[in-house]
Amino acid sequence: MSCCGTNPGYEELDEVSRLVSSRLAAFLKTLRDSGFAVGLAEGQDAAELMTAGYAAKPGLLRSAFKHLFSARKSDWEKFDGIFDAFWLGRRVRSRSMTTGSSKAANNPSLKTLADGQRSGSETAMDQVPSTDDAGADRVGEGRMEGASRADNLAEVDFRKLADPAQIGQAHEAAARLARAMRTRLSRRDLARRRGYRLDLRRTIHGNISHGGVPIDLVRRQRKTKPLRLVMLLDASGSMSMYTGVFLRFIHGVLDQFREAEAFLFHTRLAHVSDAMKEKDAARALDRLSILAQGAGGGTKIGESLQTFNRWHAARVIHSRTVVMIVSDGYETGDAALLGREMAALGRRCRRIVWLNPMMAWEGYAPEAAGIKAALPHVDLYAPANTLNSLAALEPYLAKL
């Protein structure tokens, strides 16, 4: 009889463990959706932990799982919220869901900024002389016209592009240009890798077969780090006419290129390299939509740089890093802070390039307090309002 009494017990236990494991699987999925890198091995270990008695106390289980599943500081910080929401049914603070969810629904997404070029371009359309001039020149050349639309486009200020097809072309060209820059820069780097010192240990090792007489010399080459590009893009309202093109440009640079990082800022700073590494450009922009909150408001360049210096600079900047800031320099925060943070940034990196699309506007002078404070620390201050001016950057970067 006793066996009949225990059997259902086992079955119940089985039932419980099945429930637990399906729950656990769901939790792993939630974690993966939130950007955690969780594999099978972690799942097994988690199951082991739960059977080892950790499941009895939620606080303990949370702490154990946190160590097991987190892989970086950002994971570490958002884990508690996700755990509580899943197992204890508490609300997640909105902050902790930023990574995975790409609900563009109720935000003005960057994609619309990129494709639409809504309000800004309309006002810009009032003054189009340069487009006309460029067009007239081409007409003179007659048969060149059809083939050289891209060249034609090259000199047109981005804000004056109105027709969606043209905008599309400009985006394509920016992406192409970025890719070309990337490959050329890295190849030059390789060719320059010469310079030698004798490696004594390896020389002796390599010549044991000669009884230790150093016949074949082994030289030591200095390993140079490839140039790294860190881009900080201003996505505020005043820049909205240019954001789209630059996002495509950044996407092109980041694409398959290890030594590049991208950040977006308006009133706060966001690290967007991961989102931008999405192969499909439109999808990458979609993933950025969450960051569009606040786009169109003021610009706090100083504060954003402060965040960058404090939390990201140590990781993303090494001795051969060029920081490229794309902004019009209209600072709504404290200009003195901007100056201080620029100085701090300058100490860390090799060069600071500031691209200001407004610079080519007629009658523009760097009068704004922000740009005035920043300029002394900038190594290259250039306009970047046309594809040609973007391309002009390449020789400068190649020299570094």
């Binding site: 091995a41 270990d45 160590h67 097991l68 240990r201």
Partner: protein, 290 residues
């Protein structure tokens, strides 16, 4: 030994005041046999965790300090070439096979930290310090070692670990580590200790620091950390400062504001920070310390 409370107590006995989460991490590390990856700002005591762990297990601590350009011959093993050459010269004319067998024997093998760690009878604590400074290639190599715990030396054969070492990796975050390495490890973020824990750390480490002084120092340091500094002082700096104050015979910070300001150099390590924390600032901070 798997009990977290016991771990915390034994860590405390060896002079490391751990928070509850770290004790959990260490018990998991023993249970799941995974390496522990510690990240955090410089000076929060990441390396100390490994030292304390070694003393908890009463075992040896083997440390591999990573740097740029670190390679297998400095991390794993290397043949002692000079000695091999001498031996070849000395045995000139002998049977070449015998000479070869001799010069590729254990006697001529230089053991580097990683090989040493897997050849001990008693599992040691292997501390791989500042892994973010090593190159990507080395990281990949390390990953392989950490999953198999065996090393193959072409001339000698495969050496399997006699005991799996307790592996602790630390990183300052100067470079992004690979996802593969992160996934293999348990992760723990070491933050600056709160006032209470820092005071206990001071008391545990500095002889002659009373409870009230330790608490004052910890509060003051917390205030300094909130200032906008280029180099935020870590626990090591706090301990230096506490030692300095005790050495100068300070019993209460309020009695000696001059000394407090003058010894702040223990905490502030750049000229810019030093000039930012002026006498007024240090008095303001001192005023907040109860």
């Amino acid at each position: 030994m798997k009990d977290r409370k016991e771990i915390a107590e034994r860590l405390a006995a060896s002079g490391y005041i751990a928070d509850a989460e770290l004790a959990t991490a260490i018990s998991l590390m023993l249970m799941l046999k995974r390496p522990l990856l510690l990240e955090g700002e410089a000076g929060v005591g990441k390396t100390e965790v490994a030292k304390a762990l070694a003393s908890v297990h009463t075992t040896e601590l083997i440390r591999l300090q990573c740097y740029e350009g670190l390679d297998q011959s400095a991390a794993l093993y290397e043949w002692n070439y000079q000695r091999q050459l001498l031996s070849i010269q000395a045995h000139r004319g002998d049977d070449p096979d015998a000479v070869e067998d001799q010069i590729f024997s254990q006697k001529y093998l230089l053991e580097r930290p990683l090989l040493a760690a897997i050849r001990r009878d008693r599992p040691p604590v292997l501390l791989i310090d500042e892994i973010d400074r090593a190159d990507d290639e080395f990281e990949a190599f390390l990953l392989e070692l950490l999953s198999d715990f065996q090393v193959s030396i072409p001339e000698l054969g495969t050496i399997k670990a006699t005991a799996i070492p307790h592996v602790v990796l630390t990183s300052n975050g100067t470079r992004e580590l690979s996802d593969a390495l992160r996934r293999r490890c348990l992760y723990h973020y070491v933050d600056y200790p709160d006032v209470d824990r820092e005071a206990r750390i001071i008391m545990a480490r500095i002889d002659g620091a009373g409870a009230s002084l330790a608490l004052q120092i910890a509060r003051m340091v917390e205030g300094v950390r909130k200032e906008e500094l280029r180099k935020v002082p870590g626990v090591a700096e706090t301990l230096d400062w506490a030692a300095a104050l005790v050495g100068l015979g300070v019993r209460d910070l309020h009695d000696a504001p001059e000394t407090v300001h003058e010894t702040l150099m223990c905490l502030l390590k750049t000229h810019e920070d030093k000039s930012r924390v002026t006498r007024e600032v240090s008095e303001r901070l001192l005023g907040k310390v109860a």
